[in-house]
Symmetry: C2
Subunit: 318 residues, 2 copies
Amino acid sequence: MNATDGPPGVPRGGPVRREDDILERIAAIVGRRAIPAGEVHIGDDAAVLAPFVGQTVVSTDTAVWGVHLDGGLFPLEDLGFKAVASAISDLAAMGARARAIVVAVTAPPGTDLEELHRGIADAASATNCSIVGGDLSVGRDVTVAVTVLGECPGRGAVLRSGAVPGDKILVTGPLGRSAAGLRLRRDGANLDHPLVIAHRRPWPRLAEGLAARGAGVHAMMDVSDGLALDLHRLSDASGVGFELDHIPVADGATLDEATSGGEDYELLLTTDDAARLGLIFHDRELRAPIEIGRVVADRTVRRLRGVGLERRGWQHSL
Amino acid sequence: MNATDGPPGVPRGGPVRREDDILERIAAIVGRRAIPAGEVHIGDDAAVLAPFVGQTVVSTDTAVWGVHLDGGLFPLEDLGFKAVASAISDLAAMGARARAIVVAVTAPPGTDLEELHRGIADAASATNCSIVGGDLSVGRDVTVAVTVLGECPGRGAVLRSGAVPGDKILVTGPLGRSAAGLRLRRDGANLDHPLVIAHRRPWPRLAEGLAARGAGVHAMMDVSDGLALDLHRLSDASGVGFELDHIPVADGATLDEATSGGEDYELLLTTDDAARLGLIFHDRELRAPIEIGRVVADRTVRRLRGVGLERRGWQHSL
């Protein structure tokens, strides 16, 4: 953690050590992993990492307490976990390998920063990724801005824009688990209900993304804002349309939750060789991707079983 | 800009395009620089960058409206500029070359996001660095979390921890300009007063950092929280003490502002060959570094002209 937050610029008297003290306690929580020789993580002006192999891939994502997670229903730990998981999911969506995370937190005085950082550390540890730096500032909201760095050796990152007419469209799993988990939690389900866990502790599909890149898929993205929004985005980027046969609904979820609930972080991809993709996933002991439809050349065609699929899902109003 | 902010998880009806629309307008402001062949910046799940040369260096920094910059005295643009400049300064402090920036913004509805991003784009442009990705979320505060990625070809990044007893201690310029500028602005000075500009539009010393790394300096950091705090941090990291002869006060600043005002972003460094450092700076047409004292072995010795230098400067209370 560096502490270069920048002052309002006025000199201050007296020895003030509070921020440095808290940074040390947080560093003990997030900095548990072994640091490779030649690397410097938390503690200097910046982190230093051994050279990356191939392209560098980077994404940033913010989670705000009360906006991205309901503070009345979930512990603060979960905000940290979700922020990291959703940022890492963006790397999974490129077929990248995650190398490092930096985390910038704002919080009002009195926030349990150690609890928050335990969630951050849990997600990093679950994805085998090191937290190499951070920053801490005072603010009215608890916010966690996570930036993830990864690498793409060999053939390059998979973009949203590569879908080709005739491609099959697949997702790496059934949808709606996260939205169903939130609904159940609101109705009183425990934090350890499997669908509630899917909402609190989403799992980025890094292994699936690597396998899909290896299989040469044409286009890929993660389903974070709902299939009915994200599939339109992928189609916009590729300049194509789509014909869907069905939307795979997870056990316990509704069709509406599967269509526009979002936050499942399954990968959405297109390929002209679905059989090869299936074999590679099978070889790596990954769940078989589910075919849901196909890419068409006419970009105005955006249909589910012949009926136009409305663009809807989560967006901020700003 | 991606828009994978993650919903509270509930399905939403109706076509909502506001966030995507605003992201397009912002992308037009921050994405003006030419994109090198083979790179993907704003618009996909993550940005893709051509391979880095040598070590990857990364730092993250947040600026909060009303905390890091007084909204009654400065335009919102300046918050964006300062956030980027202070993050880039951390790379300068390692002797790294800046390659790319990602920016995560939170703001309440109605915030002039285009003004904010103009400041962000100005700082990136001034330092010749591309904004390759971002994220936008609703929050009560305007916050700008900037992550900067850079590379260190050749000999590695310069750490805080390398100071050796006998080293000379130098800074790349006189101190206190930023704090003086804030004071003058509070007293009614115009935004274009040179010292006010030093506060609003700090200049990261990238060229100086590269030159210092090339000269083989032993330790380096940026003076962001005030010399009287940052020199203690460098000494702690190196396990050494210091004897200062003087603190160079910028024209128009007070000794107190130079000692603990912070945000000048001059580089603080130690070397056993100050003459060589001076020659290299001269060759590159950089201002001559100012010698201010020397490193001593006894880490309890922390003195300015024989009197103990109190550890003081800006820290958050959390």
